[in-house]
Symmetry: C2
C-alpha cells in the first residue's frame, strides 16, 4: 500500500479543495493518523508504523508531517523516542496531562469558588460512595500517609499552606482509586482548579486551626466508613465535609477580596 507513485515529487491529493476549507493540512493528517490508530486497534506502547507519517504515503512534506505529529503529541496520544528502534509510539493519556490541556480553558474567565464547590458538592459524595468497601490495603496506606501530613498543628505559614494542599491531595488520592475513571478524572480536575486559583492560594495561607481539625475529623470518619463498606455513610460524611468547606471558602473569599 505504500508508494503509489514514486516518480511524482509531491502529488497533491485531489481531496485538497474538498476539505482544506478552514482546517489546515496538519490537522487533517493528524486526524487521519488518529483514525488509523483506532482502526488498527493500536494500544499504548505500540509503535506507530513510520509509513503512516511518511511523506510518500501522506503526500506532504516532512515539516508538515512533523506538525501533524506535534498535534498528536500535544494531545498526548503519542510520544517520540530517538535512537534505533525509536520512532513514534502510542501512549495512553494520563489524567494529569489531560488536565493541563484544560488549563487554557478558564484562563481568562476562571470559575468562581462557588461554581467549583457547587459541583464538588455533587461529585465528591458520589466518589466517596463509589470506593466504599472497595479499597485495597495499600490504598488505605496511601490515604493514611496523606492524612499524616497534616495531623500536626502547622508551625509556619508555609506549613499551613502545605497542609492545605495535602488535604486536597487526599481527594486526588481517593479519585485515583475509584472504578469510575471518568468520575476520578473530573474530581481531580476540580481539585486542580482550586489549587491553581489565586483566590484559593490566598485563603490557604491563612491559619485556621478549627477548619483543619474538623477536616481531619471528617476524613478519619470517612476512611472508617469506606473500610466498613458503608457507601451511604461515606456519601453523607463527604456531603457534610463539602458543605463546611464550601461555607468556609466562601466566607473567607468575601474577606480576602477587600
Amino acid at each position: 500500500m505504500p508508494d503509489p507513485d514514486p516518480g511524482a515529487p509531491t502529488p497533491v491529493p485531489s481531496q485538497l479543495s474538498a476539505v482544506l476549507r478552514r482546517r489546515k493540512r496538519p490537522d487533517i493528517i493528524a486526524d487521519k493518523v488518529r483514525e488509523m490508530i483506532v482502526a488498527h486497534r493500536l494500544a499504548p506502547g505500540d509503535r506507530v508504523p513510520s509509513e503512516w507519517l511518511s511523506p510518500q504515503s501522506q503526500g506532504a512534506s516532512r515539516g508538515t508531517l512533523r506538525e501533524a505529529l506535534k498535534i498528536l503529541e500535544i494531545q498526548g496520544l503519542t510520544t517520540s523516542k530517538t535512537g534505533p528502534g525509536g520512532g513514534v509510539f502510542v501512549s495512553g493519556v494520563g489524567a494529569d496531562e489531560a488536565i493541563r490541556l484544560l488549563d487554557n480553558l478558564f484562563l481568562f474567565h476562571p470559575p468562581s469558588i462557588a461554581d467549583i464547590y457547587a459541583i464538588r458538592k455533587e461529585l465528591e459524595p458520589l466518589l466517596a460512595a463509589s470506593v466504599a468497601g472497595k479499597l485495597s490495603s495499600d490504598a488505605f496506606a496511601a490515604l493514611q500517609e496523606t492524612i499524616r501530613l497534616y495531623e500536626d498543628e502547622p508551625k509556619t505559614a508555609e506549613e499551613e499552606y502545605g497542609q492545605r494542599l495535602a488535604e486536597l491531595d487526599f481527594h486526588v488520592e481517593l479519585a485515583r482509586r475509584t472504578d469510575n475513571a471518568l468520575l476520578g478524572f473530573l474530581c481531580t480536575f476540580l481539585v486542580s482548579l482550586l489549587r491553581d486559583m489565586t483566590a484559593c492560594r490566598a485563603i490557604y495561607r491563612e491559619a485556621n486551626p478549627t477548619l483543619r481539625e474538623t477536616g481531619l475529623n471528617y476524613q478519619i470518619r470517612l476512611l472508617r466508613a469506606i473500610k466498613a463498606g458503608d457507601a451511604e455513610r461515606a456519601r453523607q460524611i463527604m456531603r457534610e465535609h463539602m458543605a463546611t468547606a464550601e461555607a468556609y471558602m466562601l466566607e473567607r473569599a468575601e474577606v480576602v477580596r477587600d
Copy 2:
C-alpha cells in the same frame, strides 16, 4: 519574566505530577510565551507581539518557533491570521475545542454508560436548577427549536438517530445558558462522550417511541418549570429524566451486547 510574583513564598508548590517526558525546545518556548501572555494580561483578541515569536528574541529558528506556535494554537490559546495587520492573536478557548483535546483521554479505556450516567444524574439536575428563572426569551426560543426537531414520530432509522442527537443537543443548549461555565462545560463534555460512544450509537439507532414520548414530556415540563423560576421542580424533573434515561440505556446496552 521568570520572576512573576515576589510576594509568594511558594510559586508553584506541587506540580500535579512529575512529567516524565523530556521537555523539548518548542515546548519550553511555548510555555514562555504563554507566561508572557498571562503576565502582560493579554485578553482574547489582543495581538501577540511578533517579537515574542521572532527568531532573534528567542534564539531559535523560524521552524522551531513555528512549532512552539503550533503548540499554543493546538491548545486553543492563539489563532493566526495572514496578511498585513495579521499575526498571532490570543483567542479565548471555547468549550468545544477543549472537549476535542480530551478526545484521546478515554480512547483506550472508554467509560461505561453506567459511569457517565452516574455523573449526569448528579450534574444535570444541578444544571436545570441553575438556569431556572434565568433564561432569556431567545434562549427559550432556541430550546423550543431544538425540541421541535423531535416532536414528530421518526419515519426512518436515520431520523430516529438524528432525533436522539437532537435530544442530546437540548442538554447542550441548556449547558450553554448556565451562569456556571464550569458546570456547562462538564455537562457538554458528558454529552459529547455519549455522542461518540459506539455502544450508544447502536442504541440510538433503535426505534423506541415510548422513550421519545416520555423524553419529550420531561423536557416540556422542564421548560415550564424553568420559565416559572421553580428551581426545585426543575431539579426534580431532570432527576427523573436522567433516571429513566439511564435505566433505558443500561437495559438496551445489555441487549445490544449480544
